[in-house]
Every structure is written in C-alpha cells, then in structure tokens.
Amino acid sequence: MAHESVIHVRVEPETEKKLEILAKGKRQVRSAIVRKAVEEYYAREQSLNEMKKIVAKKFAEGQILFDDLVRVLGYEEARKVAFFVSTAKKSFEQGLG
C-alpha cells in the first residue's frame, strides 16, 4: 500500500453534521466518505477541464461561436475561455509587442 498522509480540514458545524449523516447512512467511517468525495470531485473537475479544452480549441479554430461556448460552459466560463483564446492569439501574433 502506498504511503498515506493525514490531513486536517476545517469544516463548519453544519458540514460536519452532514458528514456524520452520510457516514451513518453508508455505514462507513468519515475518512472513507471524505476520500470518496475528493476522488469524485477530482474526476468531475478533470472531465470539465477536458471539455473546456476541447471547446476552447474549437473556438480558437473558429469552428464554434461565443454563443456556443456559453451554451456548453455557461456565461462566466465562456468569458474565461474567450479571454484565454484572445490572449493566446495576440501572444502568438505580437510576441512581446
């Protein structure tokens, strides 16, 4: 088994209560619940990042419009992608200017 680390996490009382409820309901220790939550969150974030990468590239290539970005990612994330694509394009076109 790989070396395990112990981490300390601050949580609100309400969050601790939710953790207790989950642990009781699933008959698992709190550490197991927290480990699973982190793994699932990480996997979701990785999937989301992969999706952002794909749509950002399609946007940079002109295959989709900003409105399409918004439909897929939501407005705020679409603006971030558009910012990155614009900054990257100018960086390649102008260098340090």
Partner: protein, 173 residues
C-alpha cells in the same frame, strides 16, 4: 536591441523553464520578479517532479542575479482578486510601470484583465516570450515550435489551444 521589461508570475516562469526558454529569454527580456513569486517557487521546489526541478533552476537564476526579485506590498484593489503571487506580480507592474505581465494562469489573467487594461498593462502568456525569441532572430521558427511543444508536453496541455496556435504560427512551410 533594447531589452523589454516584464514581470513574470510563477506559472509563466515554470512554463518557460520547462520549455528551455527562460535562460535564452535574458537576451530579450529584463525580468522583474515579486518576492511572493520567489516564495511560491520555493514551495514548488520541494516537490520531486519536473515542476519542482524547474522551480529549483529558476531560484538559482534569481539567486545568481539573472532576474531581479523585490518585495511588493499588494495594492488593495488587487487583494482578494487573485492569489498572492499573481497579485504581487501585477502590483509590481503598476508600482514600477512595467508594461508586460507574463502569466499562464488563465483564471488570474481573466480576473486581472479589466484592471490591467485600465493601468496600461498588457497580459501575455509565456508563449509570447518564445514568439519574441523567434521574431528577434534568436531562435528559428522550428526552435520556437519545439520549445512550445516541450512546454505543452511538460504541462499536459496536449490537444489544446496552444498546440493549434503553434501549428498555425510557428510551423515552417
């Protein structure tokens, strides 16, 4: 040719070192580094991976005087917008009238963009430094292309926007 003055945040400096472009950039860029960025690099240097190795090399370059490091008190308008490293690098630009911030953190760049435009600061990604090396004739297009591909590979940025732009701008015909 006069050197261009630029402030670099941690992400950009690491990207350039991984690309093998940081040392060559000294012929075209006068780098200014915020002390908080040095602190972030020290933290990264503790990791036993490619990024950790890159951080160690960058710290050695700063220690040898190849890049200037300075303490910066972050402006209130920037505090809370982004992490302390980016906030310090950006404040350094404002305080010392540095026109360029090289930053590879998309989130940070996005949050700072409005302020940057108001202050006349241009935010670029690290690839801009490599493109400038090619523009100035220090590197060939192929060398620039290879450097960016090294960066993409080291950072896990395959099949993304950078690869597309690299193919478009730096591939020899």
């Amino acid at each position: 040719m006069a050197l261009k003055t630029a402030a670099g945040d941690t992400s950009a400096l690491v990207s350039l070192e991984l690309a093998g472009a940081l040392t060559p950039s000294f012929s075209i860029v006068s780098w200014k580094i915020a002390r908080a960025v040095v602190d972030e690099l020290k933290e990264l240097a503790g990791f036993d991976d490619r990024v950790g190795q890159a951080a160690k090399k960058i710290l050695a370059l700063i220690k040898s005087g190849k890049m200037d490091a300075a303490p910066v008190r972050v402006l209130p308008s920037v505090t809370g917008l982004v992490d302390v490293g980016e906030a310090s690098a950006f404040t350094l630009c404002i305080r010392e009238k540095i026109p360029l911030l090289v930053c590879d953190d998309v989130e940070a760049g996005y949050r700072l963009d409005g302020l940057a435009q108001a202050e006349g600061i241009r935010i670029v990604i690290s690839a801009a430094v490599i493109v400038e090396l090619v523009k100035q004739g220090t590197w060939s297009k192929n060398q620039g292309n290879d450097a960016i591909l090294r960066m993409i590979d080291s950072r896990g940025w395959q099949d993304g926007v950078l690869e597309y732009l690299c193919r478009k701008h730096l591939k020899d015909e």
